[in-house]
Each structure stands twice: as C-alpha cells, then as structure tokens.
C-alpha cells in the first residue's frame, strides 16, 4: 500500500517536472509547426547555466530564473537567425535543430567538462515531509507547486491576454491570423523564446533530482516527445495532462512491469498514435 502511495505522489511530482520541460515544446510545435529537436539541449544548457550561477554564489531560485532568461535569449537568437529562414520546411528544421543540438552538447562538454555535477537542493526544501504518515521528499512537493503555478500563469497568459489571444489565433490558423493583422513573425520569436526559457528554467529545477551531465539532453528529449504525443501539441491542458499520464505510466510501469521497463512509455505512445493520431487532447491532426 505504502509503495503505491509513494508511486502515486511521485508520479505527480515527476509529471510536474515533465510539464515544465514539455509545455514550451508543445507551444512551439503547436504555433510554429517546428519539431524543435534542440529542446533537450536547451534543458541541459539551462541546467549548466544554473550550475555556473550557483557556483558564483547566487541562490538557487535567482539562478533558476536567470538561467531561464539566458536560455530564452539564446532561443530568441536561434529563432531570429535560423528558424525564421525556414518556414514550413520541416526537413530543414530537423537538420538545423539536430545540428544545433550537436553543437550545444559539444560546447557544454568543453565548457563544463564531462563529469556529472550535482545541484544542491535549496535549503528550505531539504529533507522529507510527512503526509498522511508517508515520507515524501519535500523538494518534489515544491516541484509540484512550481508546475501548478507555471501552468496557471501560462493559462492566464494564453486565455486572458492579448498576446495569448494572438498565439491561440496563430495556432488555430496562421493564415487567417496574418490576414487580421497579427505580426506572426514577432509572435514566433516570442513563443520560441518563451518555450526555450521554460526548458532552461526546468533544467535548473530538475537539477536537484537529475543532476547535470553530458547526455542529459538525449535523455530528456524523448520524454518531451512522448508528453506532446500523448497530450497533443499546442494545447496547454494537453501537455499538462500528458505530463501527468507519462508520470504515472513511468512510475507504475517501471515498478510493476520491470521486464517492460524499456517500452513502458513507447508502447502506450504507439497505441495512442495508431488509434488516435492527433493525440488525446490535440486540436489539430498533425
């Protein structure tokens, strides 16, 4: 019984981290139709930025926010200088985002060395909390709170602001959005930068759980893909629920079916794609 409760609680916490990772991926894909294969690299880059900022004496939270901003600025540059030249050219987008991920991985190896680096849990969230008699890592409770706060903020941004209305219009029909006078080009820069920033921020938030190491990028990218496939792209609710589903699948699947540990995410993903190619919550068939 205890095992299942721990797994359930952790499914939510891991889902929260996945939401921070994949919300940006989903937005970028939904609005810009770009399969952003640098997303794992942006997550890792953020984590390394965080390591450097923390080692210079900055606190965990300011470091996470600054790292997120740094990666957001990098994302804006990538969009302005590269992706903007390639509207609709999916293959060229695959080539350029994979090429960039090679470059980022090698720069990180050069800059931070190959050793895995730990990011210390912020002191206020160390140790375990007791909830209903169960010990649960306090930091993971914090991750749940952060994910919920960000989900609410993103929801507010998309549903309640003019910018959000423009993004939604762009997701639904880019051609119409352009016709009604939305500056799609500036919108793209903002959305890509926002998505990149979220990934970078998530990298630091994930640090106390995952640590930072070369290869973190390749470990995280497939997870973002699975979330977006299960939840559907371009839908905030979709990536939130997709993240939770992946969290539960991952935790219970690994514990209950250790023999299937390697296919515990991809088998459900395959089934859903075959049965419902637009994902569980997707609005547009990809």
């Amino acid at each position: 019984m205890t095992l299942w409760l721990i797994l359930a609680g952790n499914s939510i916490a891991f889902g929260g981290l996945l939401f921070l990772l994949s919300a940006g991926f989903s937005l970028i894909f939904g609005l810009m139709r770009i399969p952003n294969l640098t997303h794992g690299s942006l997550f890792m880059l953020g984590a390394y930025f965080g390591v450097s900022l923390i080692s210079r004496g900055l606190g965990f939270w300011p470091a996470a926010i600054l790292a997120g901003l740094g990666v957001a600025a990098f994302g804006a540059l990538v969009e302005r200088l590269l992706l903007r030249r390639l509207p609709g050219a999916e293959l060229a987008q695959v080539l350029v985002t994979l090429g960039l991920s090679f470059m980022i991985a090698d720069v990180c190896l050069l800059g931070w060395g190959g050793d895995p680096i730990s990011i210390a849990t912020p002191p206020e969230l160390r140790g375990a909390s007791r909830i209903a008699g169960l010990a649960f890592p306090t930091y993971r409770l914090g991750v749940i709170v952060i994910a919920v706060v960000f989900a609410a903020a993103l929801w507010g941004l998309l549903e309640k602001t003019r910018l959000g209305a423009m993004i939604r219009a762009g997701v639904d029909d880019p051609a119409i959005a352009r016709v009604v006078g939305i500056r799609v080009s500036r919108l793209f820069t903002i959305v890509f930068s926002l998505g990149a920033g979220l990934a970078g921020f998530a990298g630091v938030i994930g640090g106390p759980i995952l640590s930072v190491y070369p290869g973190l990028d390749q470990d995280m990218l497939p997870l973002a893909l699975v979330v977006v496939i299960l939840g559907g792209s371009g839908s905030l609710v979709g990536s939130f629920i997709g993240s939770l589903i992946v969290g539960f699948l991952y935790n219970f699947g690994q514990a209950m079916f250790p023999e299937l540990a390697y296919v515990v995410l991809f088998l459900p993903m395959l089934v859903i794609l075959v049965v419902r190619p637009q994902g569980l919550f997707g609005r547009v068939a990809p």
Partner: protein, 329 residues
Amino acid sequence: MKRLALALSLVALATLPLWVGNSYYVNIGSQILLYAIFALGLNVLVGYAGLVSLGHAGLFGIAAYAGALAINHGANHFVAIIAALAATIAAAAVFAVLALRGTGLGFVMITVAIGQIVWGVAYRWISITNGDNGVAITTRPRPFGLSLTDAPNFYWATLIVFLLAVTVIAIFSASPFGASLRGTRDQPRRMTALGYHIWLIRFLAFLFSGLWTGVAGMLFLYYNQFISPQAVALGASAEVLLMVISGGTGTLLGPIVGAALVVIMKNVASAYIERWNFVLGAIFVAIVIFMPEGIVPGLARLARWCLAKLRPQVTEVSGAAAPRPESGL
C-alpha cells in the same frame, strides 16, 4: 558531359583500393558505400514519398540481428542473407501498417516509437540478443569461393551491391510507380481522384525502402562482424536521416553525398579535429543556411547560376525554371 562524369566516377570508385593505398581508407570507402545504401533506402520514403521515418535503424538492426543469429545457429551465408532480408521485409510490413495510420508528424512519431521498441527488445531480450554486449559473427561470406576477409575484396563486393542499389532505385524512381509515389507526396487528393490507391502505393514503397535498409544492415553486420543495440538506437535513426536531408532529399546523389559527409566527419576528420561533433553540427547548420534543399541540389543550383553568368545568351534556357530535383543524378 554527364555520361563522361558518370564513367569517370565509376572508374574512380572501382579502382579506389588501388590508389588510396592504405587498407584503412579502403574500409572507410566500404563504410561510405554501405551507409549510402542505407540512406538511399530511407530516401525512397523521405524523398519520393514525403514520409519521414525516424525509426529506420530498427529495420537496419532487425536485418543484422536476424543474419547474425542465423549464422550463429549454423545457417550458411546464403540462407542467412535470405532469412535476414525476409525478416526485414516482414518487419517493414508491420512498421508500415502501423506508421501509415499517421501522416506528417504522426508518421514520424510512430516510427520513433517503433524504433525505440525494437531497441528496447534488442537491449533487454538478453537470451536472444546478448543485451548490450551484442552478437559477434566469426566469418564473412565467400561468394564464388572468393574471400572477403581483406579490405579491398570486401570493398569491391560492397561496391557491386551499391551499384545494384543505385541502378534499381534509379529505375524505380523513373518508373510509373515512382511517378505515382511522387504523386502521392505532392497531390494526394488528385491521386485519389484519379483512382490511385494511395495507402497501397505508400505501403509498397515502405517495403522497397525496407529491403535496401535490410541489405545495408547485412553489409554492416559483415563489415563489423558484430551487432549491438547501439546500431538500433534513436541516434542511429537520426544519423541516417541527417545523411539524407543534408545531401538532398529526392535525389539519387544526395543520400550518397550525405553518407560520405557523415562517415568522413565521424571517422576520418575526428582524427584531426578534436571537436568534430561541434563541426559536424555546424556543417548541418551551414547547409541549412546556404543550401536549405541539401548539398546536391544546392551545388546544382550554384553550378547553373555560374553557367548562366558565364554564358548570358542561354540564360533563359538553363537558368529559368529549376528542374525538379529528382531528375538530377
């Protein structure tokens, strides 16, 4: 002009072991050819059918594992090759039935999922695949009693298979079936209206692509005399897709050039450039900036532009409408 270039490159390819000298470079040549066959096979889907597969390393691996297991269970090489290709085509049929449920990104994601599942099986089904330690074979085939143990002989055998692949794929692409396949890529609605069975055309193209992927997988097995899950991983699928895209999709020469680029960067340039991974990434980015359609179409465009500058009187004829990329060898 074109025929002369073709004849010259054939002579150069056939005599390569005689003029590169060191057997190491002959082996690099064999690797380029076998990856070129892999990339040509994938290009049938990516270039001609417009279907992007990110799970082809799964098919590649199924061929190599099937071949290795057959050989290690006492089958002779002929039987092993037939068994491996049959297994690959059967697997390609399953892949196709599942993946053709989706188009565009849906198709990509289904192939990713299948590829990852094949990888998981290769990694975890230890009693059959020996897990991450992989399966080794001790011999290479001896067609007509000719040993393929040394580098030049293996190269020539690979070259023959490569030329066969190029010829068959060229005939395929020029055939009515090839034309209808391109039709399903560019005008699916019109093709349906004309009475074509789009699903069936794509399904058959998938099998055709799978066949050459299987051939490349067997060559990989014979070249390395070893197969392990790393050859099946997502990264391997991405690598061959990068070869196709960087060289130029939908052309015959593009995947070959892409394969040469990646193999040379990984194996030869890495001996001189410590940060070869960065440089390879930078080359991909540069290709996208300067010739977004790939190296081969990009250079062809450049050549036409230069010709037009040199001979302004024929500008209207040669420089106006770029020919469809498929027509270029």
